[in-house]
């Protein structure tokens, strides 16, 4: 690309296909937003499936949701919100042109994202140990499996440990619940991983002062993406962890 690009003075680089920096910056933001509209529909279909089955099998969903650890979900919500705040600051400083501080906040975001994934691993690990992952070894309403404390439960600080709930409801519909739970949180987790890759590459590019980063737009785009990941979780948390009876 760089051979096509033309520098104009000291300002940010304008790629050859654009007339000026305004056009370029807004193009990128519009492109990102239209991609986010796609992402909304991507998760939207899953939210629709959730709504439908929740409406059909409300009681089982309530029973099954008690197997989820709302405390850890809450911590994860806090962690993600915090990361969003960091990203907001990163964009703020990128717009002011202070790229060093941007990297600091991006590192904070990475830390939060990593924390999110670690907590998620604990949650998923416990589900696997209790045979709640809906594969061939799925077993629900089986006291044997949920009485025993798994490796992942014991490693948790006591504040975050949950009292055991009886596994209520129809095992088959509960399996449906866990299918949707793992699909939605799993895809969200995948988005977090993509976000981590994006943020770390952005940090490296900023660090080496790459010619790709000449203005705030790359930070803003990654920020938009990260905020979207946060948005999804804002809805996932009450819908999976806080189902009212």
């Amino acid at each position: 690309m760089s051979d096509h690009a033309s520098h104009k003075g000291d300002g940010p680089e304008v790629y050859f296909q654009y007339e000026d920096i305004d056009q370029q910056q807004e193009s990128y933001v519009v492109g990102m937003w239209s991609f986010l509209a796609t992402e909304v529909m991507f998760f939207g279909a899953l939210f629709l499936i959730y709504t439908l089955y929740r409406w059909k099998f409300h009681d089982t969903f309530f029973g099954a949701h008690e197997q989820l650890n709302w405390k850890m979900g809450g911590v994860n919500t806090a962690v993600l919100l915090l990361s969003s705040v960091f990203v907001a600051f990163a964009v703020h400083f990128a717009q002011m042109g202070k790229m060093k501080i941007v990297n600091l906040f991006l590192a904070g975001t990475l830390l939060c994202a990593g924390g999110f994934l670690v907590i998620k691993t604990f949650e998923y690990g416990a589900k696997f140990d209790h045979h709640l992952f809906p594969n061939h070894s799925f077993s629900y309403a089986d006291p044997e499996h949920h009485e025993s404390k798994s490796f992942w439960d014991e490693k948790l600080p006591s504040v975050l440990q949950m009292e055991k709930h009886e596994q209520e409801g129809d095992p088959k519909n509960a399996r449906l619940f866990f299918s949707i739970y793992f699909t939605m949180t799993g895809l969200h987790g995948l988005h977090v991983v993509i976000g981590i890759i994006a943020i770390s590459s952005l940090m490296i590019l900023i660090k080496i002062k790459s010619s790709l980063i000449t203005d705030y737009v790359p930070v803003e785009l990654v920020g938009l993406y990260w905020h979207f990941v946060d948005l999804v979780w804002i809805f996932l948390y009450p819908l999976f962890y806080l189902i009212p009876r």
Binding site: D59, D170, K172, N173
Partner: protein
Amino acid sequence: MGWGPFQFNIMPEPASKHAPYYDALFMAITGLAALFTIMVVAMIIFFASKYRRGTKVDRKNILTHHTGLELIWMGVPLVLAFLMFGWSTKNYMSVRTMPKDAVEIFCIGKQWMWHFQHMNGVRENNELHVVVGKPVKITMISQDVIHSLYLPEMRAQYMVVPGRYTELAFTPTKPGRYKILCAMHCGTQHSEMVGQLYVMNPTEYAEWVDKGGNKYKEKPLTIQEAGAQIYNEKGCANCHTGVDNPRAPTLNGIFGKSRRFADGTTAVADREYLREAIKMPHKKLTAGWENTMPVYGGTLTELQVLQLAEYIKTLTPGKGDFERQDMKRSTPGSSGDSSPVDVANKGGSAGNAQFRTSEGRR
């Protein structure tokens, strides 16, 4: 059937009550489509030849837009569209309304076979015998994948879905042999999932029923009898006795009644509910009882569930479709007039005492 080898038919034989109405609407829409096609094609040909490059015609004052014209060719088709929509929806409602006095037949779709079960116990594979002039209602469910029961000469089609009952109704009007097809791709031998629909005169049909269908040397169990057999084999009666007891509620008279469940909701005990209650009893616990009933989802086939439900239906006094005919059950053989349809329609009756009495299912 009248299929000549070199005959060019434009439509399958209209052999049901709905078919002429269907064809009328179809031809009306076709006519409308033809009208518009001819109109636009005529416009194109006329303009294209008259205003061909080099012809000496008036090309001054070109019109580039004309809102009135646009409104006309939006408005006229729109009005026509609404008219046709009204017509087709009226037709649709009449064909999807299940007739009350229909002959009940059950259909199970599986890869790659149609399985039919009559009320009188006759079971057929890839064949279906019905009486001319009597409405037929087919209640369908699939064992594996989605199929679609398609009767072209009846202009009837509906999908056969796993996990849920669907219904299809038609009234055959011409005796003859027609096609039964599966119109939803269902796997390797999808194109072999075909059968014959025999529409018979009442007398022929009575003979056929009397022989117990094609395949049976002796008369088969009626659907209710088969259900009763399962009921006894599986030991349902050990808990579901004639009266409510601590182990289980009675099933006498539950069909069509509202049930109240442990979670406070209510539902009418229809066939769909019974299927769920047999296959997944823990899902809706009747208020007052514990979750003690075993799950029969894996042990009973869809056909057996249907038979059981029909048997449980007979435990209801005075309700249901055929029970109206049949509920004078205390006296065997007193089932009133014995037109062949009733023979098909009427099953055996409740109560073990009457099983296998020939009078009960003449």
